[in-house]
Symmetry: C2
Subunit: 224 residues, 2 copies
């Protein structure tokens, strides 16, 4: 990051998206509170006023970043079938016999709660990989300000809807009932969210295989 | 660790253990970097010099706290059978009379790699619940100082040994081979470590049931 900023030093010309991306990297590396607008300006190789040309405050950068993550997650819940092609289909049929393929929206609504749950989890992993720094920031949020608490409330609503899907899949007999839906939902997202801590796109583990691995473990278990 | 004598040497009011516990709560709440010795003194209602009576520096508090977490985890790996009774289960009971020495190779245990893995995971959950604030602190560590990086290296060694157990259990056919052992280990700890984010001892979900839920999901899956 430093060298890139160095190469570009003196060039005006960052758009808001680039400012946001570099800011989020700095927040994730040093912590949001510990990162001043002065440090951000240094990383970008521009003056502080050049950043204020794009955003009113450091908090606005955080808010824009969180919107990237939350907007992506909420889109998954309202239309889980719209998982990026690279992460969809083939593997969902692995051990379950339930094939989740690209079909029309109308048909999707007829999917079982278990199928919807799998779609939502695959979609969540896709968003996580696609928006890795933004989701990382969201997951590290402590709720120190009203804006942060609003973001966390949106995240909790997402979690509640997934817990409801788990409950529905338990009630119709497709998922085991001995684990409380809220506990299951928390363990599911514990598994999925932890991906931000170690997964780096572009390595030998593709996002598609990663999604297959997660779905395989949480639905069918590691046991042979 | 500091000696018993050291623990009791404190001025009226607080011993080192209490100072440590309150410091760790503050680190977890506000972040280690953001928490000054002055703030800690305020939280304790004592002067800064009263804290320096117990520890030489803020970094020593962090080091003592990390030792609580890492020491607990390493003990699990060297003797996974010694999971607190409250967290054991019939499924993880060891073969009779195996006296435990400090070893890491599977051949010195009569248990299968899969059984050892289950014991280690149950032991990890027990440590996590028992040392919740300390493990939370460890998991949030960024490696900003040599001491922090040493702690993270110990943690990675723990992870490596668990990944080796997964690999051994795959090789003998008890665990599925389509998931890379390192990925499986990361997903396992993703699931387990996330517990610090939401689990609070003393609620309706006991530590024993929590361990059963985690083991049930990761080994057998949520599917009925």
């Amino acid at each position: 990051m430093t060298s890139e900023a160095g190469l570009r030093r003196g060039r005006p010309g960052y758009d808001q998206e680039t400012v946001l991306r570099i800011a989020v990297d700095a927040f994730n590396q040093h912590g949001y509170e510990a990162t001043s607008m002065g440090v951000l300006a240094e990383n970008l190789g521009v003056s502080k006023s050049a950043i204020y040309h794009h955003v009113a405050s450091k908090e606005e950068l955080l808010e824009l970043a969180l919107e990237q993550a939350l907007g992506g997650l909420e889109a998954v819940l309202s239309a889980p079938e719209q998982v990026p092609a690279s992460l969809g289909s083939a593997a969902s049929s692995t051990q379950s016999g339930s094939s989740v393929s690209s079909v029309s929206s109308a048909e999707q609504h007829q999917n079982s709660p278990e199928q919807r749950l799998e779609q939502v989890l695959r979609g969540t992993i896709a968003v996580l990989v696609d928006k890795l720094p933004y989701v990382t920031l969201l997951l590290r949020l402590r709720g120190n300000t009203p804006m942060e608490r609003t973001a966390l409330a949106r995240r909790r609503e997402f979690d509640r809807e997934v817990a409801a899907l788990v409950a529905a899949a338990q009630q119709n007999g497709s998922l085991r009932k001995d684990i409380d839906p809220r506990t299951a939902e928390r363990l599911l997202f514990g598994t999925i969210n932890s991906i931000v801590e170690w997964y780096r796109p572009g390595g030998s583990l593709t996002a598609e295989k990663l999604a297959d691995d997660v779905i395989g473990m949480v639905f069918n278990g590691l046991r042979n």
